[in-house]
Symmetry: C2
Amino acid sequence: MRIITREEIDAVLPKVDLIAEIEQGFIAYSRGQAVVPPVGELVLEDPPGDVHIKYGYIKGDDYYVIKVASGFYENPVNNLLPSSNGLMLMFNQQTGALVAVLLDEGSLTDIRTAVAGAIAAKCLAPSAVTRIGIVGSGIQARLQLQYLAPVTECRQVLVWGRNQASLDDYAAEMAAHGFEVATTTDARDVMATCNLIVTTTPAEKAILRAANLRRGIHVTAVGSDTPSKQEVATAILGRADLVVADSIVQCLERGEIHKALAAKKLNRTDIVELGSIIAGDAAGRTTDQQVTVADLTGVAVQDIQIAKAVYAAVVAAQ
Amino acid sequence: MRIITREEIDAVLPKVDLIAEIEQGFIAYSRGQAVVPPVGELVLEDPPGDVHIKYGYIKGDDYYVIKVASGFYENPVNNLLPSSNGLMLMFNQQTGALVAVLLDEGSLTDIRTAVAGAIAAKCLAPSAVTRIGIVGSGIQARLQLQYLAPVTECRQVLVWGRNQASLDDYAAEMAAHGFEVATTTDARDVMATCNLIVTTTPAEKAILRAANLRRGIHVTAVGSDTPSKQEVATAILGRADLVVADSIVQCLERGEIHKALAAKKLNRTDIVELGSIIAGDAAGRTTDQQVTVADLTGVAVQDIQIAKAVYAAVVAAQ
């Protein structure tokens, strides 16, 4: 059994082709080759925190994975700790023996989420991305943009947030990654000028409004992963040509799709799964004029794939 | 953050008053002071294995705990590994930070289960236990008997199993703990001669039959922790004066009570929770002539309490 530290994980990550690994996970999931039970959830109240347990395995694979990820959103104010935390556990599918503890402190959850965003953009963004819109300016807003770099040539970015100082920090930090970042505190600017938009906040009320919807855009909604969170107006999903879920069954219970179904702006049968599009089993975007929305609530296959890939890279690096 | 090894755990366990700690857990649970979401379950097929994830916290406490326990019942044959495995994770309730990883390899799950059996016997066994009946001869059969030692003066034991060699091993090993153990391969002998019976097998068909039911006995059913497992005939629960669950909500879905409810031998309103009896909020056994059954499916409060106690003892031992 192997304890893998945050430092070891950070050291091997650049060597791993995460997009390919996680695409394979989505394909296995959408083809019914993965066993992924419902997400376990633990809610803390004072201070508020939520803990998600995602777990499962790909049939015939060597390992099963249990991932714990928490969000304690008052941490940065209360104790200067990051809001995200967690770890991943990898077990032998033949014996139940613990194979590895990945002490990633939530970083692999953040990264596999960003990688899924890159995969959604690769499949669904218009052929010419002219400006990337990022909603939110936290860790996930940073990672989404960084992981978009290999899948789009666009380096023009507009970031939305409520706090100008945070936006300025974001712009400066992303400039170092080669992006030219303008800032706004009016979400309508994002809808008006960007054609690849990624939402990354824990909002519980829509930030992107349908009144501002243009043709030829793609929105990836990443922040909303519980039944109560929402970043995108249900009417945007209602008016989209294509609504994609990372997991249909999970999106019935949580995230933007859950909200749009509840508001009767969307039918369950209109939802296509990301893995089906990657595999070529279902059509993705067919014209640049379409409006597409991907709702990513985070599926255990992402955790399974990133844990396996990091473990293999750590073992190989020895 | 602290990684606690199996050796460290084994070294401190004798110093911890587990009965008192776990009784407090049951009381908190039955008084609604614990948050314990539904059990997470992952089923492996080839070879068969089941993985349970139990988690939760006591309100106002310092930690929340996530426990993983697996049973791969072909391990002893396939690869000489024990069938049980697992670990416990302890997190800070204020921040989500990982506080400790307890690499107990499933041993703390086995022990907290045995401690619950001792607590059930303490509350529910007739005042004079004349002979202890143990159904099964595996790890849990050993631990149940060992942990009964402080709560009863009885040292006369009859163990039931299908394999005589395993029974002989059991008898010899338990003799070293001060018990005088006879063996049988006919479960009717257990019903005919024992008045404190503990069942510890992963059977899926009742081993204890109602035809042999005498007055003045107590049965603790420990093995049945899934919807399909069963060790005790539903008619025994139907004819019992008192049926006790470690968790009523959990026993509606799994274990002996689940089976007896499905067979309409029992009403939901007749079930009393163990923590309510320990707290004195509900009556336990009132006469020595009663038949009582305790169905223990394993509740996260046991894991929470044993993890906290072991962690505190390890820190104190430094």
